[in-house]
Symmetry: C2
């Protein structure tokens, strides 16, 4: 937990890969060091294309990411992959040795790969991922791929960081149902049906297209394409990258502004809740906190009412607790 | 959005099923009505056995829940199922008509089934689920089953509500890897390998057992059993219920107290962050908020620093923003 070196932000901005890795670790630990670092780097970002790629475990999403990285490297773009899928080989699958698929990118400095633990972050997963994106953006990476499983609110929050989001489905796993229900469908810009050589692939494509057809018509809005890939063999991967680019380009102007504003608002709300919580924890450390816990355990007060009292104590004002 | 009837809490406590359904809807909407209701019901809970059941989509977890409900009903226990798995048939799978598996419990007043949307809750999924459990507990349900997919921080948070947690694995889906990585393994009290007639079942059992063997030895602690089931045919379901009961019984006393305290602390932290965020949003509505969003979008300030300023404005004190 040593203090990060004073020139860490400058080294990140110069694109130093080891400085980037260290900066992400600083951000993951949270606290004043993390905030000071992010405050220095945030003004120097905003250029990277952030692509979210989501899909159920087993959908072949990680293989698709691997192949996309190959396409981007062939086009001289620098890439970062932030993998927050617990089943991804990028998240350091040391347990059963599934790092194998990482392929040929391990020694390429133009590809920065970072796995994020799915829990244990002081400020939550979406906050830690947002910080990693800020750092990689300031480091000048052209494309930042955020890879996650598409289940749960956290994952949906993470996807909100992306300018373009890709949802990977696979025939025969009921993923289409999953996607429709999990709300991921609403935020996906590009649909990929991977393992398209499987017999049910066309049925999945048809299911997604018929659901998309139910959306309200809006001539100016982006129409998400439904693409077929066989990521293992690289089939269809170019088309996925082209669709991502088209989506990004069409979003130039007003639409992008609206989307960007919504993203900033969501992130600001998250930051307010997190900082306020930290503040309360700090100021009511000791007796106040322990007393509240005991009262809730004895069911003499409910957690929300107790939280309202703690807030009032911490900030010296009535904080509007209900009940 | 009508005001809930004044006697709603009393009707919930009397076990009125329609009042329970209505109360959960009130809680889901959040706000003062929800908080007043929970404040009235929370003191009357603490008796129900809350069981968390988690597992990847396709693991047969919902079928296992269905069969467990059958076992409990045969023993005259009243049951509630809170399903927050987007792929569960309990979550109202109207999209592709997969409600079928709900089986014979639909018309049994001793089985209350409620699905929770995985997003859109004002206070987050774990808060909404906690409120639902408070309501069902106060309504006198003997057993409350919370069913969720075991991926993501939200799901882990939800599992913290449970006195006993069950992790359902299935051969041939790589779930064991998933479980090991997602951190769910650390909180599971009972492991179930479902679809145990599949050839790889014994390998999965062995993989889990060898990982469990790595835990630090603690003679007084509960040792999670690894059980095999074929939920579709009801095979092994009784043994799962017996293991849940043994775990609950062994936790009587000091261990349960420690666990309960940790659960309350986690819930209190969540409530503090959420209420503080609501308060800031309310007080800085309008100019302050819009200005902060614009400054962050222009990258003149980072989200955390802007959040610190908003907090300082809302609470009339310097709130320690970094940078």
């Amino acid at each position: 937990m040593a203090t990060p070196p004073a020139d860490l932000a400058e080294r990140v901005r110069a694109g130093d890969v080891r400085a980037v890795a260290r900066a992400i670790s600083v951000a993951e630990r949270g606290g004043p060091d993390a905030r000071a670092l992010i405050a220095r780097l945030y003004p120097h970002g905003g250029r990277a294309l952030v692509v979210g790629i989501t899909g159920a475990p087993g959908s072949g999403k990680s293989t698709l990411v691997d192949r996309l990285v190959g396409v981007l490297r062939a086009a001289q773009a620098t890439v970062a992959v932030v993998a927050i899928d617990p089943s991804s080989p990028f998240t350091g699958g040391a347990v059963l040795g599934d790092r194998i698929r990482m392929g040929g990118h391990a020694r390429d400095e133009g590809v920065f790969i970072r796995s994020m633990a799915t829990r244990g972050h002081l400020g939550g997963l979406s906050s830690a991922t947002a910080d990693a994106v800020t750092i990689l953006d300031a480091a000048g990476r052209d494309v930042i791929v955020v890879e996650t499983v598409g289940v749960g609110q956290d994952e949906v929050e993470v996807m909100r960081l992306a300018a373009v989001t890709v949802l990977v489905l696979v025939p025969g796993m009921g993923d289409e149902v999953q996607a429709l229900k999990a709300g991921v469908m609403e935020i996906a810009d590009v649909f990929v049906v991977n393992k398209a050589d499987r017999p049910e692939a066309d049925r999945v494509v048809a299911a997604v297209e018929s659901t998309l057809a139910l959306r309200p018509a809006d001539a100016s809005a982006w129409t998400p394409p439904v693409l077929k890939t066989e990521a293992t063999g690289g089939v269809g991967v170019d088309a996925v990258w082209q669709a991502i680019g088209r989506c990004r380009d069409q979003r130039a102007g007003g639409d992008r502004e609206t989307r960007s504003r919504a993203q900033v608002e969501s992130r600001l709300r998250e930051a307010v809740a997190r900082l306020a919580g930290e503040q309360v924890a700090m100021r009511s450390a000791g007796a106040g906190w322990a007393c509240a816990v005991t009262e809730v355990m004895a069911r003499r007060i409910d957690p929300d009412a107790a939280a309202g009292q703690l807030l009032a104590q911490a900030f010296g004002a009535k904080s509007g607790s209900g009940g």
